[in-house]
């Protein structure tokens, strides 16, 4: 019987099978940030286990609160910084080089098709866009990952998500994933890998695939995954060109990580995007989604463009097309957080930063920033934010605040009018 990509990755990484339903995997990449890792570092040190299984396989960034905002966050950063130095971890990204983990690490070429990846961050599922198995874990899993290079999982089940049709103008990967979460609900894919297939995925950029996989967790998914193909090989080429004579050869090699045609799936979900319209959330759960027309006219106080979902260069470009020649509506605050230093410098070179600033946006350094209300851009009670982030939980961006999730284009259109607005009016 055929196997899914996830079954192939599991088979290639199995260290142990404690039961037929459980597997302990060897991990290729352990990612760390300053919120969930310092407590693991302290705990390991207190137990006399202050060591790492392989410093080359550990990637570290300070991204949630950077620059540090107070002595507690400065301490978290210091614990991570001191540990990276002590353990000779070369891939450590501190202020000036740091960006949002799930945008920065792909950019550095750290994740390859067929890899296993863990991180103490639920949006680790983003890295499945490269044909990897990437899952968010807690701090104890992180400790064991750091120390032993292994992590336990239930045997994988896969939900096949077919996305076909022709993407309409003004509709983006963010709208597609909001629509999928809307249909599946917040636990429609719990304990399952969401395998994204179909002609729409085939033509998507890596940035768009990352946006899609990023929100797999919002349907409960362990990981989102796309088949690694030419798009993947071209994105990774600077990092893999020593391993392959040509891009064609890499594309051919990546095929070992494709699901077999007779692979067995737990379930199937299909979406035809041809008649889709932009999507916006209305409540405190990411499956509380409506067509933009049903939300139009809802006033906002703040617009946030950034995060591991939509802070990449493609997202900034899409928002800039809408913003062209316009300014923020009176009384609306705009915040742009480019996800990485590379995104920031590309946006500078392309004139996008100037355009955002002339429209009235505040441009911050690369950081998770407002997304989870830990750092800058926090809302006051009763305030509303149009946001390109991935979660609208009650209180997330500030106690008493309301977050509406949407695409960068919809956020930009909303910035211009001050009310939730269909971006297609600006195209």
């Amino acid at each position: 019987m055929g196997r899914t990509i996830t079954q192939k990755i599991f088979a290639a990484h199995t260290r142990d099978n404690p039961t037929p339903d459980n597997v302990v995997l060897d991990i290729d990449v352990v990612m760390c940030h300053e919120i969930t890792t310092p407590i693991a570092i302290n705990d390991l040190a207190a137990r006399g286990m202050d060591k790492v299984f392989d410093p080359a396989k550990i990637k570290v960034v300070i991204d949630h609160v950077t620059p540090s905002k107070d002595s507690k966050t400065a301490t978290q950063a210091k614990i991570l910084r001191d540990w990276a130095r002590r353990q000779s971890i070369k891939d450590f990204f501190d202020i000036g080089q740091n960006g949002v983990c799930h945008a920065l690490f792909p950019e550095k070429g750290f994740v390859r098709p067929g890899n296993t990846v863990i991180m103490g961050d639920s949006h680790t599922c983003t890295h499945g866009a490269f044909g990897a198995f990437a899952a968010g874990v807690g701090t104890t899993d992180l400790e064991v990952g750091i120390l032993k290079g292994v992590c336990s999982f239930r045997m994988p089940k896969t939900l096949l998500v077919n996305v076909n049709g022709v993407m309409p103008t003004g509709v983006s990967a963010k709208d597609v994933i909001l629509k999928i979460v809307r249909s599946l609900t917040v636990n429609g894919a719990t304990d399952m890998v969401m395998e994204f297939r179909g002609e729409v995925i085939d033509t998507m950029s890596m940035e768009a695939r990352m946006t899609l996989c990023n929100m797999a967790i919002e349907a409960g998914g362990t990981c989102g995954v796309c088949m690694p193909d030419r798009v993947t090989a071209e994105y990774l080429w600077p990092f893999i060109k020593e391993n392959y004579a040509t891009i064609d050869e890499a594309v051919q090699d990546f095929r070992q990580w494709h699901s077999d045609v007779d692979a067995k799936y737990e379930g199937q979900f299909s979406l035809d995007v041809s008649s889709m319209v932009p999507q916006v959330t209305y409540g405190f759960k990411p499956d509380e989604v409506k067509d933009v027309s049903e939300m139009e006219g809802t006033p906002v106080d703040q617009v946030y463009i950034g995060s591991c979902t939509n802070g990449r260069i493609e997202d900034l470009r899409a928002a800039a097309v809408i913003l062209a020649g316009h300014k923020l509506a009176d009384g609306v605050r705009g915040i742009l957080s480019p996800a990485t230093p590379l995104v920031y410098s590309q946006a500078l070179a392309e004139g996008l930063i100037r355009q955002f600033m002339e429209a009235g946006f505040c441009v911050t350094n690369p950081t998770c920033g407002a997304c989870l209300g830990m750092s800058n851009g926090v809302l006051a009670a009763g305030e509303v934010c149009a946001s390109t982030t991935n979660r609208n939980f009650n209180g997330r961006m500030g106690k008493g605040g309301m977050v509406h999730l949407m695409s960068p284009m919809t956020a930009a259109a909303t910035a211009v009018t001050g009310k939730i607005t269909d971006p297609r009016k600006f195209l």
Binding site: Q76, G138, N187, T190
Partner: protein, 172 residues
């Protein structure tokens, strides 16, 4: 072996997320103990008061489907641990939260909706005992009720080992 059980508090809503269990702004703490006062601070649930005595006395959470969805933060388990809550009984759990519970040597028990209905009918403050060996939940009262649950044998091993770190350190 740890004793599991205690007085219950019912959180009668599905999809309770980790931000509601422990808001992100407290994730700057570097000790589990420091999380203690903030348990369920942002939970949106009619009639629920995070400062209530029932919550303070609770040893067991009884709730609905998809409990612990959202962030990977193990703080959502630690905040229960430091408040002496070591069992969560739900219709279903989000994957990371459930794994974090077992990784910490704590117990995440799944029961059917109708069984949760019966436990909730006993009300806040009712006393529950967990017979881990017999895989049974016993609700004390005039007409004592018990419910059997299934526990994956690896999860049971983690609980008995005192968590994943202790288990993995011995084995790998």
């Amino acid at each position: 072996m740890k004793e599991f059980g205690g007085s219950i508090i019912c959180l009668n809503r599905s999809d309770i997320n980790t931000d509601e269990i422990i808001p992100a702004k407290y994730l700057t703490e570097n000790s589990k103990e420091a999380l203690k006062p903030y348990l369920l601070e942002d939970l949106k649930l009619d009639g629920f008061d995070p400062a209530s005595e029932t919550l303070e006395k609770a040893g067991v959470i009884v709730t609905r489907a998809n409990f612990g969805c959202g962030s990977s933060r193990e703080h959502a388990v630690w905040v229960f641990e430091v408040n002496e809550i070591n069992v969560v009984i739900a219709e279903s759990f989000a994957r990371i939260f459930r794994q974090n519970m077992f990784n910490c040597g704590m117990l995440a028990v799944e029961l059917k909706k109708a069984e949760i209905d019966q436990i909730m009918a006993a009300g806040d403050g009712a006393s529950i005992k967990v017979d881990l060996k017999g895989s049974r939940i016993v609700v004390a009262g005039d007409n004592e009720k018990s419910f059997t649950f299934s526990l994956n044998s690896f999860d049971r091993d983690l609980v008995e080992a005192g968590g994943w770190l202790a288990y993995a350190d011995k084995k790998y």
